[in-house]
Amino acid sequence: MTGLRRTGQLADDFFLMVHDDLSHRPRLSSRILGLGLAGALLGELALLGTIDVWDGTVVVTTGRPPQTALADEVLHELEDEPRLAVGDWLDYLGQQAVQRVAGRLEAQGLVRLRSSRLKVLRAADRWLPVDVITAGWPAIDVKLKVFNGRADSHHLMLLGLARATALNHPSLWEVRDRLQDPAVLEQTLEPLGQRPPLLELLAHIEAAVGSAVTSQRIG
């Protein structure tokens, strides 16, 4: 699982995939990025079997314990508020997801904060990767594994997140047919169906992104 150049956490890898390695800007609008990261945080717990989605709501089950402090925090929040709809969790976690996931990456020494010098113009702070190779790896890893048919559920979840948020990543060019053709996508993501909440989680993220775009509340 944990290669030399892999952060190992879904939300971390998705964060690195979304951020352009040259401009350091996110490739997604802030709300869609938040929804994607929130979905990735829930996905981390779902991969551990710690949460399930039942009847459109998030249910905490007994799975393996979370591996990071952030995942543990999220789990506690989920426990405090049982049976809230997945969409509500995506909205709620999405509000703080960028800062929280960036904080976790910073603690691992993978990114550092460059404060905006143009605060007056409301220019956003940028998260810079400490090592560009490491930051670029998750996307390349997903492409290689999916292309060669050796993707595990971690890779497939990242592919599913890219599809659900309509992430346009140059490294995913070779596997674009899987992102664009619904039939091929379904076939590719099929292994995730064996872990019940994962596909449903992706579908909820896609629906939330759809609502964000159609209502123009994407900022």
Binding site: S29, A85, A166, E206, A207, V213
Partner: protein, 503 residues
């Protein structure tokens, strides 16, 4: 939808802060409806083109029909995904081929409404610049300038801040009311007569024409369900925002149209047909009120053009995402804007302006009024089809809603809207103000028949070639979700009714 049982919890509080209440949804609706554009632009043109004085009554009649329509519309909107689009209703109620047909009709209609606005923006900006700054340029230059502004603002993300929209539309409404009061305070020699407000003033010959114009004025009211997922309490917020907006704009429109009739008396139609048409509403109250209203009219036109541009953009985006239109239409830029769809809409706008210039169309009488009324006619067709879809949709689930909401109201509005559409089609020459049998009376309404036919055919092609895409038609972003939950609920089988009462 999602109910929040613990209203005091941290999560609910954080969510509620970020969600839209009734006023916010209403402001979004009003921004799309663009009240000042209708009262200052559409109403005088309607008097001029149709030569009828029953415009105020038409607004009241159409508002009543739309209110009946909205009963079933908002009831169904709570039960289906992607509820912001007519074609989603049609696909769920009347089947997917009809849905795709409706989708293409909507694309044509909304595009016509948008490009038509340039025909009003151009001359308005031109006369404003000539009067105030002594700058003289043909209308086409101004229209292309406005087009460039809409194109750029459509591609870079414009934050539709609820507060800004709220202030703008409130000021628009207040100014319209002030002008209405001023007009009523200075009646023509014939005095204040309420005849034009009475539905009995509507005569069969011109009925279709004025009704189509009134529908055009209300277009945008159907947008509330777009905000279902963003509303604080969708079950209450969306219906209330719809009905309150409908009532508010009905009163404002009918009032302003009536005031024109009272102020100009028997000359109303003649003035509207003369050179003073564009400033007809403002001339009722000369001075500061008129000049500020005239300035605001320009921003209102631009805001309406941008609102329709984004509405068309996200409509085509949703269709692209479902692969009904080419997949590239379903892509967004890094700022979340449906980039390709926005660009395509802009290209259509440029084509319309250049065509109008090349063929020497009258910008207001033809580009604006023909585009607007034909778009309004298309919306009328969609309203009728959507209403029929509501009846059909609820036919399978009689215990879900009251008899009034699921059958009586939608069936009545289907009938009324269908009659209105037929009257409109039958008297299309009156609507366009051309001799009977002109080419335009066949070409313009015929474009919808063509769009619907292409849509149905395309749906049938999709059914055999891309069954996955066919299954997802009308479901919007929730396509995968609906399919997943359909299979999931087949396993765990908790019915939606049980879910609604359990929480």
């Amino acid at each position: 939808m999602s109910t929040r049982s613990r209203s005091t919890s941290k999560v609910s509080a954080a969510l509620a802060r970020n969600r839209l209440g009734i006023p916010a949804v209403m402001f979004f609706i009003l921004a799309g409806v663009a009240p000042l554009t209708v009262t200052a632009g559409v109403v005088p043109t309607a008097y001029a083109a149709t030569g009828l004085t029953s415009v105020p009554a038409a607004f009241l009649v159409v508002a009543a029909v739309l209110a009946v329509f909205a009963v079933g519309y908002v009831a169904m909107a709570q039960r289906i995904p992607n509820a912001g689009a007519f074609y989603a209703f049609i696909a769920q109620g009347l089947g997917r081929p009809a849905g795709v047909g409706g989708a293409l009709v909507a694309v044509v209609a909304y595009n016509l409404l948008q490009v038509g606005l340039y025909g009003m923006i151009g001359p308005s900006l031109a006369s404003f610049a000539a009067d105030n700054f002594n700058v003289n340029a043909p209308w086409g230059v101004w229209a292309l300038g406005a087009w460039a502004a809409v194109t750029v603002l459509g591609l870079i993300r414009v934050d539709l801040s609820g507060r800004l929209l709220g202030v703008l539309s409130t000021v628009e409404l207040l100014l319209t009311v002030a002008l209405t009061v001023a007009g009523l305070a200075h009646p023509a020699a014939s005095g204040i007569r309420a005849a034009s407000l009475s539905p009995t003033s509507l005569h069969l010959a011109g009925l279709g024409a004025v009704l189509a114009v009134a529908v055009l004025g209300f277009t945008g009211f159907e947008q509330a369900p777009v905000f279902s997922e963003e509303a604080r309490n969708p079950g209450r917020t969306i219906p209330l925002a719809t009905f309150v907006s409908l009532g508010l704009i009905a009163v404002v429109y009918a009032g302003a149209a009536w005031a024109l009739n009272v102020h100009y008396g028997d000359q109303a139609v003649a003035v509207a047909q003369g050179p003073g048409s564009a400033t007809m509403l403002f001339s009722m109250a000369p001075g500061l009120l008129a000049s500020s209203a005239r300035t605001l009219f320009l921003t209102s036109l631009l805001a309406a053009a941008l609102a329709f541009h984004t509405a068309v953009g996200r409509y085509m985006w949703a269709l692209g995402r479902e692969r009904v239109l080419p997949a590239v239409m379903g892509t967004t830029g890094s700022n979340g804007v449906p980039r390709a769809a926005s660009a395509v809409q802009s290209v259509l706008g440029a084509v319309a302006i250049l065509l109008a210039l090349a063929l020497h169309w009258d910008p207001v009488g033809q580009l604006f009024f023909w585009g607007g009324t034909t778009g309004g006619f298309g919306i009328l067709l969609l309203l009728a089809a959507t209403s029929a879809a509501v009846v059909k949709y609820f036919a399978g689930m009689p215990q879900e809603e009251t008899l009034w909401r699921r059958l009586v109201a939608p069936a009545a509005s289907t009938l009324l809207l269908a009659v209105m559409a037929w009257l409109c089609f039958d008297h299309y020459d009156v609507l366009l103000n051309v001799p009977a049998g002109s080419l335009a009376t066949t070409v313009l309404p015929g474009s919808f028949v063509l769009a619907a036919a292409i849509g149905v055919a395309w749906a049938l092609v999709l059914r055999s070639r891309q069954p996955e895409a066919y299954e997802a038609i009308g479901l919007g972003g929730a396509a995968v979700l609906a399919r997943r939950t359909a299979t999931a609920s087949a396993v765990s089988a908790p019915s939606t009714v049980a879910r609604g009462t359990a929480r």
